[in-house]
Symmetry: C2
Subunit: 494 residues, 2 copies
């Protein structure tokens, strides 16, 4: 553990680490690997981004939050590459129009972390592309246990009922599916074995697994006793959380296929009817679906004109539960001649799927792989990045009114300044917006979009939402690292 | 080590194991893991199938061969599944028209061994799909060391110059390549990181690695100081065996792509010119290429009409060095209406590529994945299986005259009798033909094709050539096992 000036000051003032860590819990004792510091952490993590709004912040309370403000560590995962080095095989794989694309994509999809971490009860959970899942002491950065699934783990681990749920699958297509696609026949995404694995959250012992034909890259959502997710074989599955046995399975587009690449499930309880809906996107054909959480019946589906490629199956709907609105953004209007595209942000009535408003986020050069931005909603404002043009933008959820647009400073990746591809969602914490994109963490004014500070980390961030617990930010990146950074280091005035 | 009746008789007659193992090498000592029994094994393994003819037999000498005749072990690799169980995820992945196809294919390509083993100096080397490579004591079945590459290892380990060369890559295509294929643009095979890895043959320590853009699934050939192989990005590479640095790199179809899936390289030295040629097949476009081994220059290329799908990139040319003939077989005349296809066997002039003769091996129901049969040549006869119709056939190399055709007995896979898909090449040993196909090892009369015996192993065999050393057969299979079976158990009269 590296101590910041602030926590050093606390220690100098006579406050022992052990006392702070276990304040109010009986006799003071230094935290150990077996009993990590839990203060400030949530007790469960039920969906991608931890809640419907994707705002993954946990202020903590009193002394605990101050101790955690001093937490700084870097955990190198299997095959993790140094943060100041280029992506793996850069010279072999070649470069895209904007610099490091090909190698960065492969490094994200085949070596490091596609998304971020989960923090529950003082433990950071993270899955990565080399089939491993880690439980890390949030205070020390020491590994508590390591598990292994059958394929790459591209989702945030879900933590519920004493289990860590890890989704496993890969982005590839078999040659027979390549040929089917050319004939417009339904295809399945995922080359290797795939499925969902459940581990005991404390010991890492495997409890159950459920195998699927297509990849399980996106996150599901825990609703009651069910874990509900879409995947690469055109289905939405609801599994019994305790046993892994299916409660229901729905083919979203019978006879037509469809695949969910990275669209993590979200939910909303309709106050008028009491019905809980699950939202998930699929590609080929492109639709956002709303399913009844209890039965799996499709309640509505929606699409937008000129949606392109893996548009809707790649991105995760966000929900503003108060407004009763679901938001998503997808690639539309791809121009094959000059390789540019537009990202459209659209709002849907959560109960009916009706499009309420739709906005272009601007045209940019088509980047490789995931081309959309994850959305975070806070106090009636939707914050969304556009990785194709390097911007972060803010819109009023109800009206669609544009509040601001900021072009993020360029990122330094392996010594070169490149467009900051902002794929993840920001978080809102104590009046500051934090966003991890490119190789940096940025602090912004949420009212104006003004960049307040930038903190270089190295490597590259994928579709990440930073996790803030009691003054520490927890992250994972494409180079194969899990990280704890004192929030104070990122933005001293925060 | 399990002793057969024959080796027990030897021991009863007073012949100590240690004495036999080190006969003529000084004081007697029992073989240990650190110093495995080397008698009878070759000192290097320079290409797929160990030689141009793919006849992987090593009679051994005197007492050593008798001791090894008693060797029986099963080595379970990472995630290996019990031999009497179905392939992984059978119920999830669904069945093809002939039974176990979908799950068998995925188990072959993502869990177990696509091909067989290599035996050098008393050590069995094997690579598998979970990225691991093992060195196993040939006498005891105990692991000497375990290495790991960056992706699946589908080729036989090559052993030369004190190094074990392991090719690494996977069968998948990225979504961008899926879209390119639909537009008839060049594509690259292989989703994950790929390349060639060299380990110290004794210690397993990594010596060098060389990364490539596309998969390296097939084997290369060692010629002099060069390791020469084709791969998924449309190139043939010659690497310096000692350093892994490229000597030359040839794009076989510039601007058109091409990918080598499982076509392992072969070679022939033209006695008239002294030039050494390397033969390797590519798909999309489909050609067998002959390259000058010293410079990488393409000397000739050849194709056959109506070749289908991954035809030429999947199969490995065999060479009859005396006749100066290269043989290969590829899928032709696919009938999309009834899903049948034909496998054509063809002979080419090794110097010019001219087609000398071409034979249909018969029409059969299209099976999934690898649809051809590897060829073995012995004393002017080519032996080849047709996995689509379950036959093994023999042809005169020079004239193309058909000598016989045998339908192999059905195989019992997980309790059900299914067509025996004969993908691998047989070996000729002391007047008997041995073939591993389906879940069995068969002994046949090489003159008539009559089946003499069948020995059930379980699991499923891929594109395997059994390796026979001094009376023991060494194998690997799709379920993730390396095996030693006394030849006497397979065919007691052999």
């Amino acid at each position: 553990m590296k101590l910041t000036r602030r926590s050093k000051a606390w220690l100098a003032a006579g406050a022992g680490l052990g006392m702070l860590a276990l304040a109010g819990c009986g006799p003071a004792a230094a935290p150990t690997s077996a009993a990590p510091q839990a203060a400030g952490f949530p007790s469960q993590w039920l969906q991608y981004g931890s809640n419907q709004e994707h705002n993954t912040v946990f202020p903590g309370t009193g002394a605990a939050s101050e101790v955690l403000q001093g937490t700084s560590w870097r955990f190198r995962e299997h095959r993790g590459i140094p943060l100041n080095q280029p992506p793996r095989d850069e010279s072999v794989l070649g470069k895209g129009p904007s610099g490091y694309f090909h190698a960065s994509v492969k490094t994200t999809q085949d070596l490091g972390n596609a998304v971020g971490v989960t923090g529950v009860g003082g433990i950071i959970y993270v899955g990565e592309d080399r089939n491993r899942v880690y439980a890390i002491n949030a205070l020390t950065g020491k590994k508590l246990w390591e598990g292994m699934t059958i394929n790459q783990n591209m989702a945030e681990p879900i933590v519920a009922g004493g289990l860590v749920i890890v989704d496993s699958g890969d982005t590839g297509f078999s040659y027979s599916n390549v040929m089917k696609f050319a004939k417009h026949a339904p295809i399945v995404r995922g080359m290797g074995f795939a499925g969902v694995w459940a581990f005991n959250a404390q010991t890492g012992k495997k409890v159950w697994s459920y195998d699927t034909k297509g990849e399980v890259m996106p996150d599901g959502v825990v609703l009651g006793n069910a874990y509900i997710f879409g995947n690469g074989d055109g289905h939405v599955y609801a599994l019994n959380l305790k046993t892994g046995k299916p409660l229901w399975i729905t083919a979203v587009a019978p006879g037509k296929g469809g695949f969910d690449s990275m669209s993590s499930a979200n939910w909303w309880k309709n106050p008028a009817t009491g019905q809980t809906l699950v939202y998930v996107g699929f590609s080929d054909p492109n639709f956002v679906y709303a399913l009844d959480a209890a039965t799996g019946k499709v309640v509505w589906k929606q699409t937008v004109p000129k949606v392109f490629s893996t548009g809707m199956g790649d991105n995760s709907p966000v929900v503003d539960p108060t407004a009763g609105i679901v938001l998503d953004d997808s690639v539309v209007s791809f121009n094959a001649a000059n390789k540019t595209l537009n990202l459209d942000l659209y709002a849907m009535n959560a109960a009916t799927g009706q499009i309420l408003w739709q906005h272009k986020l601007g045209r940019g050069k088509a980047i490789l792989a995931f081309k959309a931005g994850l959305i975070m909603v806070h106090h009636g404002v939707a914050y969304v990045g556009d990785p194709d043009n390097g911007t972060l933008q803010a819109y009023a959820v109800k009206t669609g009114a544009k509040l601001w647009e900021t072009t993020l400073p360029k990122s330094k990746i392996a010594g070169k300044m490149v467009l900051t591809q902002d794929r993840g969602s920001p978080v809102y914490y104590k009046g500051v917006l934090y966003e991890a994109a490119g190789s940096d963490v940025f602090a912004l004014n949420p009212k104006t979009g003004a960049v307040l500070s930038s903190y270089p980390v190295g490597g590259r961030f994928g579709m990440i939402n930073p996790v803030i617990v009691g003054g520490t930010m927890y992250l994972a990146n494409s180079w194969g690292w899990s990280l704890a950074i004192p929030l104070h280091d990122i933005y001293p005035k925060g």
